[in-house]
Symmetry: C2
Subunit: 252 residues, 2 copies
C-alpha cells in the first residue's frame, strides 16, 4: 500500500530573517505522520511572488498534498492568495462566503478594505474554516493554504485532517540508551539491512553531561518494527547502554 | 551594494516525521542576517540520496552560499557526505587530516569503521572545525556541510562566519503596539510604498488575551529605516496602540 505524500511551504520573511522561530512545520509533520501521510519535503520562501509561485508549482506536481502557511492576513505583505492564483493561472477575487464570515465576525465594526482583502481567494477555491478569527484559508486542487499564526494554523489543519487520504499506519518505536552512536553503528547497519522495509534512524543526545543515542525504528509493518526494535534493544543492552523503549505516537 | 545570498538545506527524516523540532534554521538565519547575507530560501529533505543531490544542485547554483545541516555522523543513515560527493561528481574518500583529528579525539579508544566513516569527505573539500566532538564538517565550493546536533552546528558556523563575504548591514526596527493589523493596514501600505527600498512586515500577536501587531522595518539604508519607523510609530500611536520601538539585533 503506497502512502500519500506531502510538502509544506512556509511563506514568510520573518522566518528567513531569524526574527521568528517556526513551530508550524513540526505540528504539521506530526499530524501527517499520525495519519500515514509521508511528509517528503518542506521549504521556506520569502514574501516574494515569483518565489512562492515557483515553489508551489514545483511542489504541487511532486506530492499528493501541499500545505502552505503564512501570508493570508490583511496587510500589504500578505501576498499568498495572489501568488497561489498566479501559480494556478486563476483570477483572484472576493469570495461571497468568505466576506459573509468576516461580516459576521466583525459585526458592528468596519469591514474596511484591509479586512476585505482577507476575503480574496483564487476562483474555484473552497474555503477552510478559521474558528479563531474568521478569515478563512482555502484549498485549490491539492494545495491547502493555511494561516501563519500557530493557533489559527492548527485549528485550520485540524478541521481538514479528516478529509485527507490516510495512508497505512506508521509504527514508530524509539530505543534510547547511554551508548555512543559509533559504538553501535556497525551492528545497527546490519539490522537496517535485514529490515529494508523499515526506516531506522540514529540520533545522539547529551543529558547532564552523559552521552547517549536514540535509535528510532519506523515503518508500516508493525511486526517487523517490533522485531527490529527488539534487536536494537538487545544491541544497546549488550553495550551496557541501559536502554529504554518507547512507542512514539505522533500527533497524540 | 548587492547582498550575498544563502540557502539552508536541512537533511533529516526526524524533522519531517515530526520527531524533532528544528532549531538550527533560526540560529543560522540570525547569524547570516547579522552579517548582511540574505537568507533567501530553506529546504528540509529526507535522508534520501537523490533528494539531497537534487536540492544541493538546485540551491548551489541559485545562491552565494548553501549551508547544510545533518547527516554527517557515523551511522548508516548519515549519507550527506556521499550525497554531496555525488552532487559535485567527486569521489568521496578518507581525509587524512580528518582522520588525524578523530585519532586525537578518540585517543586510546578504538577508531572503528563507524568512526572512520566521519573522516570521509568529497575530494577537494576543506574541513570545518568541530571543537565539540572532532568529526569535522567540510566546505566544497560554495556549499558548507555542518552537523545536525545544534551545539556542534553552532560551533561550526561560528568558526566559518568571519570567512563569508559580508553584505551591507541590515537595520531592523520593530514598532509594536495594541492595534489590530487590519486597523493600520491601509496606512501601512502607503508607508511601504513610499519606502520601496525597505522590507516592512506585519506580525500579529496575542498577549494575555489582548491583540497587537509588531511592525518590522528592515533595510540597508539606516536613515530610511529610522524615518519609516518614526512614521509607523506615529501611526500606531494615532490609533491608541501605545507603541514600543525596539532595534532588532540579529545574532546578538
Amino acid at each position: 500500500m503506497s502512502s500519500p505524500t506531502a510538502a509544506v511551504l512556509i511563506i514568510g520573511n520573518e522566518i528567513l530573517s531569524g526574527r521568528t522561530q517556526d513551530i508550524n512545520l513540526n505540528y504539521i509533520a506530526n499530524k501527517l505522520t499520525a495519519i500515514g501521510v509521508r511528509l517528503a519535503e518542506a521549504r521556506v520562501v520569502a514574501d516574494i511572488e515569483n518565489d512562492i509561485v515557483e515553489a508551489v508549482n514545483d511542489l504541487r506536481k511532486k506530492y499528493t498534498y501541499v500545505f502552505t502557511t503564512g501570508g493570508i492576513g490583511p496587510t500589504h505583505d500578505d501576498i499568498t492568495s495572489d501568488s497561489i492564483g498566479k501559480a494556478f493561472g486563476r483570477r483572484v477575487s472576493e469570495n461571497a462566503e468568505a466576506r459573509a464570515r468576516l461580516e459576521a465576525h466583525y459585526a458592528g465594526a468596519t469591514l474596511n478594505a484591509a479586512r476585505l482583502r482577507m476575503a480574496r481567494v483564487p476562483e474555484g477555491a473552497s474555503l477552510i474554516e478559521n474558528p479563531v478569527s474568521a478569515a478563512p484559508g482555502f484549498r485549490l486542487e491539492n494545495v491547502y493554504v493555511l494561516a501563519g499564526v500557530p493557533n489559527i494554523m492548527r485549528a485550520m489543519l485540524d478541521s481538514i485532517i479528516a478529509t485527507l487520504r490516510h495512508g497505512p499506519e506508521i509504527h514508530s518505536i524509539s530505543v534510547s540508551g547511554y551508548v555512543a552512536e559509533s559504538t553501535v553503528a556497525e551492528e545497527l547497519e546490519a539490522i537496517a539491512k535485514r529490515y529494508p522495509m523499515l526506516d531506522i534512524g540514529s540520533y545522539p543526545w547529551v543529558r547532564q553531561a552523559r552521552f547517549g543515542t536514540a535509535l528510532v525504528v519506523r515503518g508500516t509493518d508493525k511486526a517487523s518494527a517490533e522485531k527490529a526494535a527488539d534487536e536494537i534493544f538487545a544491541l544497546v543492552e549488550s553495550k551496557g547502554g541501559n536502554p529504554e523503549r518507547e512507542i512514539i505516537q505522533p500527533g497524540a
